[in-house]
Symmetry: none
Subunit: 146 residues, 2 copies
Amino acid sequence: MNRFLSNATNRIDTKGRVSVPAPFRAVLAQRNVQELYCLQDLVFPAISVGGPDLLERYERQIASADPFSPEANAMSLLVHGGGVYMRLDAEGRLMVTDFIRDFTGITTEVTFVGRSDHFQLWQPQAFHEAQVAARAGRATFGVRPA
Amino acid sequence: MNRFLSNATNRIDTKGRVSVPAPFRAVLAQRNVQELYCLQDLVFPAISVGGPDLLERYERQIASADPFSPEANAMSLLVHGGGVYMRLDAEGRLMVTDFIRDFTGITTEVTFVGRSDHFQLWQPQAFHEAQVAARAGRATFGVRPA
DNA sequence: TGGGACCATATGGGCGTCAATGGGAAGCGG
DNA sequence: CCGCTTCCCATTGACGCCCATATGGTCCCA
């Protein structure tokens, strides 16, 4: 397993901490990532979490756009203004800050969602609804197993 | 036998495990597949199970789109966030998780259905009904429990 | 041709390990 | 001096790994 896949829901404890699923931690360790970069998803009410490469990927996307376009401007606002660095504690937990709560609606539980090269934090119900909507929206991507 | 063919129904034990039919395991072994990728079928209430190639087929579809587009984002949500990696135990069994139960309606028995390059997990009666419907010609394809 | 030994699969369950969680106590900053 | 954070340790419950048993089918041999 070399990428972030599948999803899992964990509880937030009384101190506001939540365990990152072990498979995700294993991917982070394999990639030698200690500092986590968190930013708001551009489409969904979710927080994306990844290593420094995640930030760089977004920055390249911004750089490739017209620097004076409203899109690039807005994206920079989100990426640079809305991003946060985070660390895990010794047990592999992270603090769920108000920054995360406000944007996602997370209160007592966090759903971790793999996105291949990064993962995301979702309010469980919101994730479920987004999945149903995505499935209904594009019922078939045009891919049918041969 | 180099493809997944025919179907078989096995019981789930008290620990929530079920044996994968030996012919299917033989195909997996022949293809050197140890990690199984499970994905919700796009049409039927069934879970598709295959090797990494199953995942890669969907990932190629995602890669062909603009990586920052809402469409690619939604597809990744389904494929990466909705997919699950699984391993078989030494006896060739897999755990039937709530993820599988909720989507398929499986409770006590699992019907394994060969689909050539992958296989599927069905609730036995649902599979039977889908077969009857398919045999009847035009049918209630796409019908899924609300 | 019928009986029996053999074999593979499916199934059941014990046990150890690890992850998720909870909470105490010390360190740092306000 | 007080509150929040960080480090550390305890608990427990799930899962992986292992071995045991049953069941049905096949092959061989009398």
